[in-house]
Chain length 532, copies 2
């Protein structure tokens, strides 16, 4: 739901990682003295500097500095591109690949993953012609302005020519990266490397097939009252409670900080030692802030938990968009909307905001934050329907990239799908097909990772509960550290050593399986809405 800036362009490619290292063994690099190590170390540091510039711009920078900051960012991007495409780097990768092929036993899993990601980053940067990159930058910049205007005017026709251009450019870009694959497969692989599009499609199809009828059952039931949540929650108090909540969740403030922004995000400044997050404050709605804090804390937990041995390398961040989202969704939804968690911590919320919570029972509070309904706007959607918003976008962008549908038909297709899946029809394009910024930026293939993250979250959750059967009792007793420890050991620590699906297999014994999410959602909403 909230943007994470973690590895939006994830950086891994498929590889066989047959040998699994001991879970407790130290992570080491035989390549530590290789030229590739020093060259990628520099690129990692520059990446961290770029993250800091972005964080500063969104949280601290005075407004008057916008234009000059853009110039500074551009200069740094130029240097990063120059060094990220340098012949010396290409040679260092070839040399490392040759060493790995010739003497595989000398090297570690971390070595192999480092080379895999270095190769992938290098190829992505060098395969796109400079002219194409320039044309695309100009087109997306123009399209963003056009989209802003079109959305304000609720006029899809205004945006259609720009979007047509962006779609063509995006398809061309995918062809440069891999002329032998379908464009949408190439784009999807940028965000969820190692997972086939077929796997993702099967998961999302199953999720849709289960969610649409479940939502209809919910819609037929008595709706939950959440009207008492609207209130008066001063900004300073929300911020203080957010910090208290982060303490409860085990967020390490010596290695991070909390600020406020219009659009919350979490960002890592290059290591597990500096992972910052932001939240949004609406003075009439504290739940929005709470859920945003728990979501971004999940992202920050991931990065704070990565083994420091991986810092300043191409595998020092979270491994994919989907896995990252699984961690944010675990804390936001599976824990953050559970009876168990709030039975321990609701008194803290009541103490912070006696009005209204002193007069609301914890069970009513938890029900209220689990209200589901067919709605128009993705970023405001609930845990149940959110995936349907995503699936609609996924189906549309996949068909668009395959040439099966045309840009001019998008409003009709969009509205039909909203009616079919969610039971609502947008009154205009502003609250319909024009609501998201992603496509104007040429971002295709990213949307599905939100729902794949929800699938992973439920699958990991099932495994954690198998490992720790008294999870709910411990949550209800106020504990959270045991969850974080389980995540650190099983997921976080490994950074990008394992690709998403590989990691999932290693942790749960099987690849992505949407059944866990379907079961979780079905049980939860049957319980919350008393459907049985």
């Amino acid at each position: 739901m909230q943007r994470t800036v973690y590895h939006l362009m994830a950086t891994t490619t498929p590889a066989n990682s047959a040998a699994q290292p001991d879970a407790d063994a130290a992570i080491t690099f035989t390549l530590a003295d290789a030229p590739l190590f020093a060259l990628t170390r520099e690129l990692s540091d520059l990446d961290a500097v770029q993250e800091l510039l972005q964080w500063d711009q969104e949280t601290q920078m005075p407004s008057g500095a916008n234009a000059v900051r853009a110039e500074q960012v551009g200069t740094l991007e130029g240097i990063v591109h120059e060094r990220g495409t340098a012949a010396a780097l290409g040679h260092a990768i070839v040399e490392a690949e040759a060493a790995l092929a010739a003497q595989s036993a000398r090297f570690t899993e971390a070595d192999r993953s480092l080379v895999r990601n270095a190769r992938r980053d290098f190829d992505q940067k060098t395969k796109l012609p400079a002219d194409y990159v320039r044309e695309r930058a100009a087109a997306t910049s123009a399209a963003w302005s056009t989209w802003q205007s079109a959305r304000a005017n609720k006029d899809f026709g205004e945006f259609a020519p720009s979007l047509t251009h962006i779609v063509d450019l995006t398809r061309r870009g995918a062809q440069y990266l891999n002329p032998n694959a379908e464009p949408y497969e190439v784009l999807f692989d940028l965000f969820e490397p190692g997972m086939t599009l077929a796997t993702a499609t099967a998961a999302l199809d199953a999720l849709r097939a289960a969610t649409v009828p479940l939502l209809k059952r919910v819609q037929a039931a008595q709706q939950i009252d959440n009207s008492f949540l609207k209130g008066d929650y001063p900004e300073a108090k929300q911020l203080a409670f957010s910090r208290e909540l982060l303490g409860i969740l085990g967020y390490d403030f010596t290695r991070g900080r909390l600020d406020t922004t219009a659009h919350p995000f979490a960002t890592g400044i290059g290591s597990p030692y500096d992972d910052r997050l932001t939240t949004r404050i609406h003075v009439d709605d504290v739940v929005s802030c709470i859920m945003s804090v728990m979501h971004e804390c999940g992202h920050a937990h991931y990065e704070q938990g990565i083994d420091p041995a991986l810092s300043r390398t191409p595998i020092g961040g979270g491994t994919s968009s989907g896995i990252h989202e699984s961690q944010s969704r675990t804390w936001e939804n599976i824990i953050g909307r559970s009876d168990a968690f709030w039975s321990a911590h609701y008194p803290a919320l009541q103490a912070a905001f006696p009005e209204p919570f002193a007069r609301v029972a914890v069970t009513d509070f938890v029900r209220s934050i689990n209200r589901a309904e067919g709605s128009l706007i993705r970023v405001e959607a609930d845990e149940l329907t959110y995936n349907l918003h995503i699936i609609i976008r996924f189906e549309i962008e996949r068909d668009l990239m395959a040439g099966k549908i045309q840009v001019q038909d998008l409003p009709a297709i969009w509205n039909q799908k909203y009616q079919d899946y969610l039971g609502v029809t947008p009154p205009d394009a502003g609250d319909g097909v024009l609501q998201d910024v992603h496509w104007s930026a040429g971002l295709f293939g990213y949307f599905p990772t939100y729902s794949l993250g929800n699938c992973y979250a439920a699958q990991f959750n099932a495994k954690m509960r198998a490992d720790i059967p008294d999870t709910d009792a411990r949550l209800a007793a106020g504990e959270t550290a045991f969850v974080l420890e389980w995540q650190h050991a099983n997921i976080h620590r490994w950074g990008s050593i394992y690709q998403g699906d590989d990691l999932c297999r290693r942790v749960t014994g099987e690849g992505l399986n949407p059944t866990y999410l379907i079961t979780y959602l079905t049980e939860k909403y049957e319980r919350v809405y008393g459907l049985k």
Copy 2:
């Protein structure tokens, strides 16, 4: 008194700037299309990024990130060094110098200054052998730790071997930069380019000769009571008043921001659009915070006032340490400790802190913040005696660099000078010769610019009052914008186009003249202490 990070290593060399541009004409570069322009633009942007990393580290960064941030900073320094010493840059400078020599009339004053500073920066970076730079970095890093320990132990003997090493290294460094000049002249020129050491020495000698007897007269008079200043000033209220005060001073918050740090500073993130400052908060002492805010605001005023045409060039910052300090001292001392200013704004202070100021008359308040006394610690010294602290350091480091005195004799020399000039003797080396960090960092030649800044401040002030005879009346009426306008037009706008002494001549009609400061201090302290 407070550290400024503005161009601590100022970047200009002597040049004849005979033709003075029209004060109102637009600043332009004929060189805008030259390779040198693009190359130095990139270096300027990288410099801004380095400033941001530093600012973040001191104000926002979580403590756990210290070690990894040092690595990131090191990576960036490596890139800056590589690009700042590149053969292509050397060629571009030679090419620009040739063009300026061949067709002088085609180029502007800004062109000439840009080439002058680019040459100076390049020479400074390329003349120091890499081995020397490494040795020096290691030595200063070790010396800093030793100094910390020695100061805590009040044991100069512990620090002496390190300092001896640093002095040797610093002398060698100066020889690399210019083997034909005395080392201390070379070092001084790094901070106050274009001013001869003879000029500075004459000014500081005159200042000492006038200040020592003036202090003795003050010491013979009835001391001013400032005991009522100690009180209880909550941090949030000090910060709120600081922001109010910055508004009064005309600081532009759309192009800057205020944070708190242990050691206040002002820093420019590469342009007049982003100039941030910090203050310190002692909860028992609001005057410390007020003076720190006015001081740093003076630095920020300078950078915010530089013509945007100079942004992202080698002449886009303040021109020298002394000129920069003149601007901070003008706002902190000449305005910030004046009856005129406080007669307008004391009610705001009284409203913010009714206790104690509701019961203190404005005249008593202003007297209290002008109390002078012989004291041991430079950073806590008053406006009158501060220069004596500086002059002691100047005389010692000059003689040390010339080999006239030896490191092991410093404590005795230090204590004798404190007795002679200030009438006090340090009880130990911790409050004596070990109190400042500068020498452990190899920083020699910087101290004198503090007092030269005070000289410039008084000289500019005299000229402003000649131009605007009703300055005091307007200050007393609550105006400050007219001062800032005068500074913008005469000093700030020009960035580093003119070197310090040149700028002074242009503004006041004569080079540095300590008489203005001597007159100002004499009149002020005779009045404050009723010496006539």
